[in-house]
């Protein structure tokens, strides 16, 4: 999603100022993140060709330590851990992209409306975000999933509930400040319609911060989904999922390979998105501080 839409953002004007998004790609960290994330996306697409075993196929060879025939060993049902780790990417990665896209959409629209109309719309949306921010994310996600009933679908819904407010706040803040910016007034005075002002003058400047937040949230989404599955509230067995695999690993503590490798998978995916997001933020706003979310409290 982010890679494909980049040229579009250039055209929208993000790349116009020297030293903006384009300069991110000169950083080693951004390249590392892109390579790592790209590798995972390719893996997720070509899993059936790469994975040596069926992720659900059980065998009599329980708890085999890593070896040439089973790179990451086998689990308590004799399933190949390597194949399961690879197949799990087909669950986590598309869900992460879907989640963040939905959060951007919902949060962006609500935040935009709040900033544009103000008044009671603004009040309602902002108090709703306050409520979500009053809970540590996983606590609320856990409560929502538990109330709805444990399933992957409900876990995704719960993550959506905790993710959209960040975008609503960022977009609202930007719409408010940009709406009063001189260059927008100038554009309106030159005869630009409100539609044109919104699309050409305001939107491109919202895209940057939202892109940074979304890239970081891709990693957070993977982490949160894995956490919910670790709690038994997300993906249900026998589906291969990184968090629930680590959970199984904690029950067979001495078979270190069962929990270690799925955890590595989570770490490498999240790290890739964080490398990318951090580099993008540096490129777009060198002054910006650590947490975009916290800045907009």
């Amino acid at each position: 999603m982010s890679a494909r839409s980049l040229p579009l953002r250039f055209r929208l004007g993000l790349g116009r100022r020297p030293g903006t998004i384009g300069s991110a790609w000169t950083q080693p960290l951004a390249i590392a993140g892109l390579a790592l994330g790209g590798a995972w996306i390719l893996l997720a697409i070509f899993v059936p060709l790469v994975a040596p075993y069926d992720p659900l196929a059980q065998s009599a060879q329980l708890f085999l330590a890593p070896s040439a025939s089973h790179l990451f060993g086998t689990d308590e049902l004799g399933r190949d851990v390597f194949s399961r780790v690879l197949w799990a990417s087909r669950l986590s990665l598309p869900l992460a992209f879907f989640l963040v896209a939905m959060a951007v959409l919902i949060g962006g629209v609500l935040g935009g409306l709040a900033g544009y109309f103000g008044g009671w719309v603004d009040e309602v949306v902002m108090r709703a975000t306050d409520l979500v921010f009053a809970f540590p994310t996983i606590i609320l996600a856990m409560a929502v999933t538990a109330a709805l009933g444990p399933s992957l679908r409900n876990a995704v819904l719960a993550v959506l509930v905790v993710f959209w407010p960040a975008y609503a706040r960022v977009v609202r803040g930007l719409v408010l400040s940009l709406g009063e910016a001189d260059y927008v007034s100038a554009s309106r005075l030159l005869g630009a319609s409100s539609r044109r002002a919104l699309l050409v003058d305001v939107l491109p400047n919202i895209a940057g911060p939202v892109l940074v937040l979304a890239t970081l949230d891709l990693g957070n989404a993977v982490l949160l989904l894995a956490g919910l599955s670790f709690l038994g509230l997300g993906a249900q067995p026998p589906a291969p999922e990184w968090g629930s695999m680590v959970n199984t690993g904690t029950q067979y503590f001495q078979r270190w390979w069962m929990g270690t490798f799925p955890g590595f998978a989570i770490l490498s995916v999240v790290l890739a998105f964080n490398f990318l997001g951090d580099s993008l933020r540096d490129a777009l706003d060198p002054r910006s501080s650590w947490a975009v979310k916290e800045q907009n409290r």
Partner: protein
């Protein structure tokens, strides 16, 4: 310059120092924050109410669990207790009334009031969380200072990768690996629980075993408690160390090029004085605001990590409640954590207002 401030200073010098009453502006700021806090608290109870009573298909079934639902008398009693046959506003009012009486429902697992469970488990989590936050702030700020001084050099880049690694690490996985390496392979730390088997906790004062042991002067108990505390606390600190390193670095860089810093250098002050007294002092207020976030991260971590360390806190309680779908217990923990969280954020806000007077006016 005969500013009022200077006049006040002179007056104070003549009177001698006296404790200052909080200004009217500060009281107004405090009142506004307090009102927001109360509203938010009400909002939290509404969210919990909606999740326990509105969302589940049959709240009685969800809250009573499998066993009791077969018993019509129990279902009837539950419906009457929570007024499920009454209109929604009445239900919410009843819910609030129960909360005010400290009634969080009954856990399906322990068959005890959730409140009793919570009060048993909170001290263990408090000890773990406080230690972890202490470690995170000490380490994170130190690393952040180093990164800011050495900005854009190799050591800064290495610290950047490390701190991004810290925030990318799934805590539950880190706990598993750390326990395997440091307990199972190396044997450096004891495995699980808060004390070695056979060691009795010191007499209960605070519920924090390390503090209680020090108060009672039982240093062997203190040593045992500390050994058990150190690994889970470090694991929980990982995320916050990453966060605080990055945050401290950028907060320092915001001020490090200011004229007054140059002036301090030009005066011939040693570099460490400039960095600590002038730069870090100015960078501290934004760092304080991370306190609330750090607390949220630690609470998130405890839910995922405590069960791995068999740490008998509310995190383990929440974990077991989640895996067994003990809805009243889950809601009890969520409500409790959320209330503490907004209280922490309130304190952080007020502290920020104290440290940075501009906030009070805005």
């Amino acid at each position: 310059m005969t500013s009022p401030a200077r006049a006040a200073n002179r007056e104070e010098l003549q009177r001698g120092w006296q404790p200052r009453l909080p200004s009217r502006l500060f009281l107004r700021f405090l009142g506004r924050r307090l009102a927001a806090l109360i509203l938010l608290g009400l909002g939290i109870t509404f969210v919990a109410f909606a999740l326990t009573e509105l969302v589940p298909g049959d709240p009685a079934a969800a809250n009573l669990g499998q066993r009791a639902i077969g018993d019509p008398a129990a279902v009837q009693a539950f419906r009457e207790h929570y007024g499920l046959d009454k209109p929604l506003p009445v239900q919410y009012a009843l819910y609030l009334q129960h909360l005010a009486n400290g009634d969080l429902g009954e856990s399906e697992q322990s068959h005890r009031p959730v409140r009793a469970d919570l009060s048993e488990y909170v001290p263990a989590t408090a000890e773990l969380a406080l230690t972890s936050i202490l470690i995170a702030f000490a380490l994170g700020i130190t690393l952040g200072i180093i990164a800011a001084i050495r900005r854009n050099r190799l050591s800064d880049q290495v610290l950047r990768v490390i701190s991004l690694g810290g925030i990318s690490m799934p805590t539950f996985w880190l706990a598993l690996v750390a326990l395997y390496v440091f307990f199972f392979q190396l044997g450096w730390v004891p495995g699980s629980g808060r004390l070695d088997p056979g060691v009795a906790p010191a007499p209960h004062v605070t519920g924090l075993y390390t503090v209680d042991a020090l108060i009672a002067g039982q240093f062997d108990v203190f040593a045992s408690a500390l050994q058990h505390l150190i690994l889970p606390a470090c694991v929980l600190a990982a995320y916050n160390v990453g966060l605080l390193t990055r945050f401290t670095r950028s907060a320092m860089l915001e001020v490090i090029n200011n004229d007054y810093v140059q002036a301090a250098r030009a005066k011939g002050l040693p570099e460490h004085t400039v960095i600590l007294r002038h730069v870090l002092r100015a960078a501290l207020p934004p760092i304080i605001t991370v306190g609330g976030l750090a607390f949220a991260n630690v609470m998130t971590g405890t839910v995922l990590v405590e069960s791995i360390f068999s740490w008998p806190g509310i995190g383990q309680y929440a974990f077991h409640s989640a895996t067994t779908l003990d809805l009243p217990a889950i809601m009890g923990v969520s409500l409790f954590v959320a209330v503490v969280y907004i209280a922490v954020n309130f304190v952080v806000d007020v502290l920020y207002g104290v440290v940075d007077p501009r906030i009070r006016v805005a």
